[in-house]
């Protein structure tokens, strides 16, 4: 016999029994199915037939109320108002001509527009087609009185985003937009259907799950003429939760006003927690323009804007830090012991190095310069010397330690990491060795260095708080619509930088000098009754762009000098000099936060101001 045979051996005695059991089970199961079919089709047949005869289940979704976004003091930055939307369910329409005519008459729409809308979704005859969103109360009244003429017309109330204070930090708050086909496919929004509005940017997007709530629905029974017969069931929507942000509307407002019409960005942090008190990017856009559907033309106009209003310059803009980087160089120099606070360098206005001459911004030179004076007066030659002694890689290590060259980890899309070059990086990127001369540019914050305003605010906070690096965050608490705390967020310290606290103190003292001492470059931020500390910076624009060739102006600051309560970075694109263009914005923030009387245009010490005005890019 074949090697394949099995049953000639010992056939298990219970095999026939197994087959018999299987047979019985199969027959039983199929009988069950038949019974169920009998139940549905014969016993309940007339019932279901009636249900389908009237073609009669309509599902109208009830959109949930979207969560409110508050500032840290409880001011509503974004809330919602009801909006009435008009839908047509094609299958219920009896007379298209009458419907179109009526809609045009009642809603002030062109016949063409209506037809265009109706042609959009012929796919599913019971799927509601939006005809006009956000209709006025007048229109609503007129519609209600003529509704009997137009079976198939449904009105849905949905919450619409409302901006009671006007656009507040639109890049941070973000906006809502219609869900895209790609997002629908991604499976990340299982609750949503085509036509739904979801957060598409900023906090609205990051916290969509929290703010969005859960849709409810009315399950309507409709008769053959399209009129509602009865409500089969209602599922109440679940309102979204509210966000309490760390933003401070008072500060945000001051910044928005100060930066109006000038491209740039500003970030204000609490140095002891990493909370973001303000974040602004200019030019901004108006998020309320997204509450209705934008036409392609409007979209294109917004996106074609050369000033890129959709870019969040505070986290996406990458700029050379300019002289604000000198704190990093100073710290690295002290820590690596290549200088002491008193190590003098002589500045005669330029430093020959290799085949080139590196200039100081002050042509006449600063004379003998120690660390304090170097920061106060922003002496380039001093930092060239420190850079030479440090070398590129040691400098980069301190920059990384402070958090430069990588995203801060704020949960806001899309944060850029900037760039802190090393010798290895250059070899990988350009296939050429690092030139020692390039380190000189780096040491004063030019060259390949790229940082975001958020990063600069963050390292200022770290210097201010004695070396703690926090992950910046925007949302303090999630609260239910009834006010119940759902989640509270605590500060997240990323690391403590391992440096001598005394070195940080020296740098802070020098930064105070920048603002408050004669000869300091930041005099424009000086205030009576508050000792603030800061640093000016001017970032060279290498490719002199189409929009004028002025350099970017930086100003970083914290205050008060002892026990700092806020730290910030201001960047004005093509603003020119930091002391001139950016420091006044910082001053206004300080005035608002510390409730100081606004400084009338009385110049500080005349010398200081002239210094502030003449800070120049380093023309190496």
């Amino acid at each position: 016999m074949s090697r394949y045979t099995f049953f000639e051996k010992e056939e298990p005695a219970d095999l026939p029994r197994q087959f018999f059991i299987a047979l019985c089970l199969i027959i039983a199961v199929f009988f069950g199915l038949a019974g169920r079919l009998w139940y549905l089709q014969i016993a309940k047949g007339p019932y279901f037939k009636k249900l389908s005869e009237n073609n009669r289940i309509r599902i109208l979704s009830i959109p949930p109320a979207r969560g409110i976004i508050f500032d840290r003091k409880g001011i509503r930055l974004v809330n919602s108002r009801p909006s009435f939307n008009l839908y047509v369910i094609p299958d219920d329409v009896k007379n298209w001509e009458v419907l179109k005519e009526q809609l045009c008459k009642l809603l002030d729409l062109e016949q063409e527009q209506v037809e265009q809308r109706l042609a959009q979704k012929k796919m599913n005859p019971i799927h509601p087609i939006p005809i006009k969103l956000d209709i006025t109360e007048d229109e609503l009244g007129r519609l209600e009185s003529f509704k009997y003429l137009m079976p198939g017309v449904y009105i849905e109330v949905s919450p619409q985003r409302n901006y009671p204070l006007g656009p507040v930090a639109p890049h941070v708050i973000g906006y809502q937009g219609e869900i895209t086909p790609k997002q629908l496919k991604s499976g990340q929004y299982p609750e949503n259907k085509m036509g739904d509005f979801i957060g598409q940017w900023g906090l609205e997007k990051e916290w969509q799950q929290v703010l969005g709530g859960k849709k409810g629905g009315r399950f309507l029974e409709v008769d053959a003429t399209g009129q509602e017969v009865q409500l089969l069931s209602v599922q109440e929507p679940l309102s979204g939760n509210n966000l309490e942000t760390s933003l401070d509307w008072d500060i945000q407002k001051v910044i928005q006003e100060a930066m109006k019409g000038k491209p740039g960005a500003a970030v204000v942090l609490k140095p002891d927690t990493g909370e973001v008190l303000a974040m602004y990017s200019s030019p901004a856009f108006d998020p309320s323009s997204f509450t209705r559907k934008l036409s392609t033309m409007e979209w294109n106009a917004l996106f074609a804007d050369p000033y890129k209003p959709f870019q969040n310059r505070a986290i996406q803009g990458q700029y050379p830090p300019g002289s604000t980087y000198k704190m990093v160089t100073a710290l690295a120099g002290l820590e690596e012991k290549v200088i002491t606070p008193e190590t003098p360098f002589y500045c005669n206005g330029a430093l020959p190095f290799g085949k080139r001459v590196f200039h100081c911004w002050r042509k006449g030179g600063h004379g003998s310069v120690n660390l304090h004076k170097a920061i106060v007066q922003s002496c380039d030659v001093y930092f060239y010397n420190v850079g030479i002694r440090l070398g590129v890689d040691r400098l980069a290590r301190y920059a990384h330690m402070l958090g430069l060259g990588e995203p801060t980890g704020i949960s806001l899309y899309p944060e850029k990491g900037g760039l802190i070059p090393t010798a290895l990086w250059k070899l990988g990127r350009y296939k050429t060795a690092w030139q020692p001369g390039e380190t000189l540019s780096l040491a004063i914050g030019q060259g390949y260095n790229l940082t975001t305003p958020l990063q600069m605010a963050s390292i200022t906070a770290t210097i201010a708080n004695g070396g703690k690096v926090f992950r910046p965050y925007l949302v303090k608490r999630i609260v239910s619509p009834e006010g119940r705390l759902i989640k509270a967020f605590v500060p997240q310290q990323v690391r403590q930088i391992p440096v001598n606290p005394e070195h940080l103190r020296l740098i802070r003292q020098a930064m105070a000098g920048v603002i408050n001492e004669p000869g300091g470059t930041g005099g424009a931020a000086r205030l009576v009754g508050l000792v603030a500390a800061g640093k000016t910076g001017t970032a060279q624009v290498v490719a002199l762009g189409k929009r004028g060739g002025r350099d970017h102006a930086w100003f970083v600051a914290f205050a008060p000098l002892e026990s700092p309560q806020l730290a910030m970075a201001i960047l004005m694109e093509h603003g020119g000099h930091g002391g001139e263009a950016a420091a006044p914005v910082a001053r206004k923030v300080l005035e608002a936060y510390f409730h100081l009387p606004p400084r009338v245009a009385s110049p500080p010490a005349p010398q200081a101001q002239s210094e502030a005005l003449v800070e120049e890019k380093n023309l190496d």
Partner: protein, 368 residues
């Protein structure tokens, strides 16, 4: 290879059942997708016919060879299908949120359909090689169970809960049939019950939802409950005689989602009523019994396990799909063999039938 005696032994009843089911399926597909006429490419029913033709060609090819040849390719086929499943996860084309398809030269196919056959082959080979004289204990089963779990987990990842469950069900059916020790059986059942929460944890949210919704469909009429409710209305409104071909309002007006794939039977039940649905139910009952009969008459262990496994596929698929359509089983997305639209499904089913016919043909001639 093929001789006249084989032809005499072709299981004509089984073959006729299949042909009738395919004919019903294509006609139903014509009705279900009637409204789509004018879409891109050939209409669904026509494509289904092409696939069926190709499936028949494969079926005939299978008949020419002694099924024992499958013994040597069983494991390689199993591993190939595992690789394909991994390929799906990496390169797969995703349709409505799940990655199930591989596209080769503009043909898309679903490796998870192929796995059903290759897994049974591998199991059959395993039990053929590892014959024992007592009932199975844990030690005897963990290897074949691993063979099942690997593809099941890969498929669950796509995610395709229905097919993953199907693989588990069909292998458990085979294990039980071959005989499992009582103690082992009880411990396994206990283990399964205890691991349910863990399994629950691994399910995607929408899968959890479907199961919850099944238990209480009216609680979510907008979402997952919609399928069940609309399908019940379609089936129920068919009444005794049905509304007639192309006249089902539920199907035609698109109340039914996926009316040509997983819910094809609802369209049929609406248009052909209790009479029509009973015909289909009976045809499937006969198909499963006939397949089981092949297993019963098979003369070696490889053939028996193979035939059993294929019977189990037809049994579970038809049971789950029909149960789903009439609201007895959660919506998990299992096609109804020969009736639901889908090339991979019909080809895999016809390959299964080919193997059954082959086993039946050669049962009298053991030597080779």
């Amino acid at each position: 290879m093929i001789d006249r005696r084989f032809l005499q032994n072709v299981d004509w009843p089984l073959l006729s059942l299949v042909l009738i089911l395919i004919a019903i399926g294509v006609a139903n597909l014509y009705s279900a997708t009637f409204q789509d006429a004018g879409g891109t490419g050939a209409p669904f029913y026509q494509k289904q016919l092409y696939w069926a033709g190709f499936g028949f060609f494969l079926l005939l090819v299978i008949l020419f060879f002694d099924y024992h040849l499958l013994l040597s390719v069983a494991y390689p086929l199993y591993w190939i299908s595992i690789l394909l499943l991994i390929g799906v996860l990496i390169f797969g084309r995703s349709i409505s949120g799940s990655q199930r398809w591989l596209t080769v030269a503009s043909f898309s196919f679903q490796p998870s359909e192929l796995v059903k056959i290759s897994l049974i082959l591998a199991l059959a080979k395993f039990f053929f090689n590892n014959e024992i004289n007592h009932r199975y204990r844990f030690g005897d089963l963990y290897l074949p169970f691993g063979m099942v779990l690997l593809p099941a987990l890969l498929i669950l990842r796509q995610p395709d809960l229905g097919t993953a469950l199907l693989l588990l069900l069909l292998s458990i059916t085979v294990f039980l049939f071959l005989g499992v020790e009582w103690k082992t059986l009880f411990i396994s059942i206990g283990g399964v019950v205890l691991s349910l929460p863990l399994f629950w944890y691994f399910l995607r949210d929408y899968q959890k939802k479907r199961i919850l919704i099944f238990l209480q469909p009216e609680s979510d009429p907008l979402g997952a409950g919609y399928h069940i409710i609309q399908s019940k209305i379609a089936v129920g409104s068919g009444g005794f005689w049905g509304r007639g071909f192309l006249k089902g309002t539920q199907g035609q007006l698109r109340f039914l989602p996926e009316q040509h794939t997983d819910f094809a039977l609802s369209v049929l039940a609406e248009e052909w009523g209790f009479v029509g649905s009973m015909v289909v139910v009976t045809l499937f009952l006969l198909l499963v019994l006939q397949a089981l009969n092949v297993a019963r008459q098979s003369k070696d262990r490889f053939a028996m396990v193979l035939a059993l496994g294929i019977s189990a596929i037809f049994f579970w698929q038809s049971l789950i799909n029909m149960g789903m359509v009439v609201g007895l089983v959660p919506v998990v997305g299992v096609p109804l063999p020969f009736i639901s639209y889908g090339g991979s499904s019909i080809i895999a089913s016809l390959i299964g039938i080919g193997i059954l016919l082959n086993i039946n043909m050669r049962r009298f001639i053991i030597q080779s």
